[in-house]
Subunit: 306 residues, 4 copies
């Protein structure tokens, strides 16, 4: 049975000794202390684990050591992504065999011009089909300089073996859209320690902060305070929950009048909801008919028009 | 006496008639409805107001009409920024004369290569010195493709006539750093309707969402639910407030081990706090002495080391 | 009768006096020396002229002074672009009235998300229709962060009043495509002093280098050496001209297998021309049927397949 | 003895069979035809060779096959770069053992925030010291999204085992600066088929175009026409050579008044060479003393001031 993907799950670094070799000893010692600090799990060989610096043999050693050091009641998530679908599948099977609970699959990115939604849908489905363990999408534009969009993630979230996403970009518009439109069991994990609290407040299930390595107790405290409060305060939570749902309902209309269609979208939406919008000034172009129809659907879905 | 800069303050669009001329009539009618919907104020001639499409004479007409239509108990913020310091000052004085409560000053950006912290410090101080009304910094990289950094904003926030910032980028790391290190009266306004709720949860004082134009009641409801709940639930709020402060305390160490120094910064910080970090693999370079000293100061300020 | 747009045409800076006001006197004196240095013409109020820093009245003064100082046998090109189509037309008419030979119209860019080919086609055609003097498209991504593409420029070049383009990006693939597919009278001017010689070698008709302001004789010498040699050396020029035409013929197939379709495009093209290409590895996707058809047309037009 | 790195050297794709395995047979057949077409050499396992899709064992097989199929009078350049210095050295030694003439080393890039000049100097020197064969720097921002700057390349070019660079970005300012300031034997290879002719005209020694795979004869014809003409036409070449040297002399002053210091740099340079420059308008800041001194040195080196 699969474990739920939630909590504070830092991406741990890979320790090297003085000769530049992986130090299993230091890895074990660090993990022991992190476990004692109450962390809910670990991402082993994410970007902070310098996964691009290790060959396959070294990766396997690191996962073996990690498995031995991580108790069964904590999550062990292995970073197994590569630019090639084939290599990703091989690595994921390896990690599963070694006892990983889930695999974190970075977006292929070297051939960025060709990394369209089609290519990513194909990639993640092929990996999810072949993987014995659940997989998570890993979006990390600061390193990959590519961004998987909300629509593609929502589509992938229909696959029963794709159970979540780590988004390092802390893009709340995208996060909100995924939380609202993906299946309820899909876990959004935010990647930055700078947004643990606001991310939880909007419905993220966990965080994968580098910060968790150096401030594990503080990160867990933020997470726990949030959840304790949630549990104890019924009336407050109802109010807040309404606010949260309202916010989630507003994500797509917000995108429609900003990132998607800008001022022309805003003015068209004003006309739709009963204000005066009218035309923007050239060279800004008003929405065409097909865009207008899509806009109407978005406003209706968000209950801004009947 | 200056009004506090807070609440839901949408950037209103400028309506044009069929000939492409500014329609004062539609502007008045829209404002009347927005006021009735309970909005706390308005940004008049921000990016959504197509301010780059209007000449000086048209801008003045728009502000006159806005002033007449916005009740005194709501905020009237005029967008008066331009690429030239001189022109910005002239426009700001005009807006003040017409009764604006504050001015929103976009970062100069055309000569992006030269728009260093030095240039921005000079610009905003010159405008703040000359302006009869308080000013707000306006960061909107989606249009300007430049980003004013947290350090510069915090420095500018010491000026008594620079009272806040609208940040359209919804960058929670930056927002958090400013909230923690700027004077308490400094208002951070988040620019996107997609992050109203998480932004308030981390300490933003208000929002400037295009969304507020088409969904004013929904935006105000999110804002009010958050504040009502805050007022009524003492114990919950204490817990949440502790979580919030902890999160703010973590912003700078988080930046140090991610955006600023990456994996080498993470490994150095691990060594500092008592774990094993060691070296990254070449070509990643370990932190040099001066970076190490700065890192120590950051960890100390955040109470992660004594 | 319109003058041909060619030669070394530096974008001159606008001189200010100690109080920050435009100095007509220094402008006159500088122009006198530049004219003596043999420059073929001048762009007055381009980006190097700080056009975004001047109000309308100041612009008109600068153009008046420039007109008086520039002999009739040199080119006087006025920078008249603005984000609004309406304002651009007004400024262009002003410049024409003051005797400018042509107008340089920067791509509108503030609302970059909406600045599609459609918006730019509309903008440049509206300006060209209304302008009494020929206009040039001005592409300067270093400041505007937008790029008008070759296809749109080629389409605009059909308009009889759009006579050229200044491209500051020194993108030889784009330049080559425009030179090959735009009408022969269309002038491509390259904006950077770093590529005068290679740009002329591939068919650019002139250059608009900031460098021309401080090294006018050197820039003119490069231009003249190139053209003298061209005139005098018949046989060499034939060989070189064949090479040049071959290079131009290769621009589109080159784009097809690189920027446009990457490795999948390369492999498909190999199959088309008789080598083995086959499939790329997933997640790279092979070209679909419609892309394949377009590829075939490109190869045929370039005479790589029959 | 090392071969000179010049000519048309396409980056060949790696052929896969219907099962996605490397097809040695198709590789051999393609190479046979490319050799017959007169190509001067080949880059085996560059970006177009999908090097990120192959594991170490597959890479070795490809190089073995290539070595057998490439005659000794052509160049065999192996792509051996990786994100880790250690792995890069291992792969380069392998390729040398298999008979490669030189190795092409892509800039490490995944940890882009840390990929400073310092890190790259360390990386390339470590590889050059350990490599039995000469190495070439490989700059390909379209995939890596990082750019190695001219200064760092010029510094690396002092190392006797770093013999050239492939620059896929076709940045003529950078290329020109390297050609002027690197040792004469250092080979600049331009990576794009769209700029073969202008690149040769400014002093590039060769090209590495994907285009060479599908249009080998055309690419070789451009290269040969250029060189034949050069050889035969003495007087023309002298003129052109003067123009070329003048152009190269202008690269750094051009950068100083554009990319480096913008309008403030231009105005300062005008003052230096005897025109009036004066101040830019705020928030543009004039050059400070140290920048001014550097500017003077650049102008002196370029013989624009005595």
């Amino acid at each position: 049975m699969n474990k739920q993907i939630c909590g504070v799950l830092p991406p741990i670094p890979t320790p090297f000794d003085a000769n530049g070799n992986v130090s299993q000893e230091h890895l074990r010692a660090n993990l022991k202390r992190w476990v004692e600090a109450g962390l809910h799990g670990f991402v082993v060989l994410g970007s902070n684990g310098e996964y691009v610096m290790l060959n396959e043999k070294e990766k396997i050693c690191v996962w073996e050591t990690a498995r031995a050091a991580i108790p069964q009641d904590r999550l062990f998530i292995a970073g197994t992504g590569a630019d090639s679908t084939h290599e990703t599948i091989e690595l994921t099977k390896h990690a599963a065999q070694l006892g990983a609970d889930a695999a974190l699959i970075v977006t292929p990115h070297y051939y960025r011009g060709q990394m369209t939604a089609t290519a990513w849908l194909h990639h993640y489905r092929a990996v999810a089909d072949a993987s014995p363990i659940p997989i998570l999408i890993y979006n990390v534009p600061v390193y990959t300089t590519v961004e998987i969009d909300a629509g593609t993630v929502i589509e992938l979230a229909q696959h029963e073996n794709i159970v979540g996403m780590k988004d390092s970009s802390a893009n709340f518009a995208k996060m909100g859209e995924i939380i609202r439109f993906a299946p309820a069991h899909f876990s959004v994990l935010v990647g930055t320690g700078a947004a643990i609290f606001p991310a939880l407040s909007i419905g993220a299930k966990g965080v994968v902060p580098a910060l968790g390595n150096i401030a594990p107790r503080e990160c867990v405290a933020i997470y726990n305070a949030f959840h304790t409060a949630q549990t104890e305060q019924a009336r407050y939570m109802q109010q807040l929950s309404e606010a949260r749902n309202l916010q989630l309902r507003m994500i797509r209309p917000n995108a429609a009048i900003t990132a998607k269609w800008g001022v022309p979208g805003l003015k068209a939406a004003l006309d739709e909801v009963g204000y005066y919008g009218g035309s923007p000034r050239a060279p800004l172009m008003p929405l065409n008919d097909s865009e207008r129809t899509k806009l109407r659907e978005i406003l209706r879905e968000a209950e801004l028009v009947a």
